[in-house]
């Protein structure tokens, strides 16, 4: 039992400690107030005919009371042994009516009017607040749209400038690249020319040297044939 008490107690404490938003969203409160005002307007509308009915009923009662009083007066006059004072009786009846019926009717009418005024004022207040809220939201939305449009235009302008700058930079880079290629090509051509000239010089020098070597060989062969050198003495023939 103790365990059960513990778990119920713990559950209740945990339940209480769960995070709860302290206030309802303002939109919910506003919607509730609007619905209450709407319900108040409906109630006031439905009270209107009833109030009229009460007023008519009161008037009828007053008329019936007056008729009854006059009828009583007439009966009394007819049956009375002597003529009563009509003026005095009329004043008494008027005073009686004024004291009994008129204040009640007046109070009732004032209460009804004040209730209707209050309901109407509440409805008007809520409607006005709704209108102002809608207007405010509409204005905010317009400002947001205009700001967004201006921001988009500015962003587009900046992007165009950026694209133009990139194009210009690419063009300059291409021009520099082409100039570099031309320079490399000119250097290559110059190197080719120099290399060809060097080859020609080398070939001519080689040709002269070759001629000289050939001449030396001829001379050597001629000298060798004239002296008939022994096969075992090549060194002496070579030296000569």
């Amino acid at each position: 039992m103790e365990h059960e008490d513990d778990i119920l107690q713990r559950a209740v404490e945990q339940y209480r400690n769960e995070p709860i938003p302290p206030h309802p969203p303002q939109a919910v409160v506003d919607a509730t107030v609007a619905k209450l005002a709407e319900a108040g307007g409906r109630a006031a509308d439905s009270r209107g005919p009833r109030n009229t009915y009460v007023f008519k009923l009161t008037t009828k009662f007053a008329a019936a009371a007056a008729v009854l009083v006059f009828a009583s007066y007439a009966v009394g006059r007819l049956s009375a042994p002597r003529t009563p004072d009509i003026e005095q009786l009329r004043q008494a009846v008027e005073a009686s009516l004024a004291t009994s019926i008129e204040p009640a009717v007046r109070r009732k009418v004032i209460e009804d009017l004040s209730r209707q005024w209050q309901a109407t004022l509440e409805t008007t207040y809520v409607a006005l607040r709704e209108d102002l809220t809608q207007q405010y939201r509409h204005d905010l939305a317009q400002v947001a749209v205009q700001t967004l449009a201006a921001s988009n235009a500015n962003t587009n302008r900046l992007l165009e400038h950026l694209i133009q700058s990139i194009n210009v930079a690419e063009m300059q880079k291409r021009q520099w690249f082409a100039a570099g290629l031309e320079e490399i090509d000119a250097a290559r051509r110059q190197d080719n020319t120099q290399f060809a000239d060097a080859l020609v010089s080398f070939a001519s020098a080689l040709g002269g040297e070759f001629e000289r070597t050939k001449q030396d060989m001829v001379n050597l062969l001629a000298g060798t044939r004239a002296g008939s050198p022994a096969p075992d003495q090549p060194d002496s023939a070579t030296k000569n």
Partner: protein, 176 residues
């Protein structure tokens, strides 16, 4: 006939009604609906009869409507799970930590309140969550103070029965 300033009443009591509804329903949309229904019901009631304590009336109406919704929700979840007992849906595995266990405990208490008879649930909620006295509860529910005590006792007993499997799981953490 009483004349009420409903704008002032709404501003004054909206937070208490909201907290009452939200604590029971734990769902923003349902709590918002419950708040609107509560104020409209109070308005209609105030047109017909004299209201002695607007706060008490609003808390009672909010609790009643929230419990109705909670019961509908419990019934719906029962139907969706083909009337399987919610107590059997609990995992046999131990909770990952005590915080999760506590959250689960609160959720089970919410489900258990949804299974109570409406009058007992109302008395339990008004007593434990809105902290009304027995006399205030009796006045709001138009019952005697003794009847309020009996209803509260029954509600506690039923809640203990409904929460008992949780206690067993806590004592046998591996479900063995």
């Amino acid at each position: 006939m009483q004349v009420h300033d409903w704008n002032r009443i709404t501003e004054e009591h909206a937070s208490a009604v909201w907290q009452t509804a939200y604590r029971l329903l734990h769902n923003q949309a349902d709590a918002a609906d419950c708040l609107q229904e509560t104020f409209l019901a109070a308005f209609e009631l105030a047109q017909r009869q004299r209201v002695r304590s607007m706060r008490g009336l609003l808390l009672r109406l909010a609790t009643t409507r929230a419990i109705d919704r909670l019961r509908q929700r419990t019934r719906r979840s029962c139907q969706e799970s083909e009337c399987e007992d919610w107590q059997q849906l609990a995992s046999a595995e131990p909770g990952p930590d005590s915080a999760v266990q506590s959250q689960e405990l609160a959720a089970r208490l919410r489900a258990a309140i949804g299974q109570l008879p409406p009058q007992e649930a109302k008395v339990f909620c008004l007593r434990h969550f809105n902290e009304l006295s027995y006399r205030q509860i009796a006045k709001e529910l138009q019952i005697t103070t003794g009847a309020a005590g009996v209803l509260l006792h029954r509600a506690k007993a039923k809640l203990r029965d409904l929460l008992a499997p949780v206690e067993e799981e806590t004592r046998l953490p591996y479900g063995t």
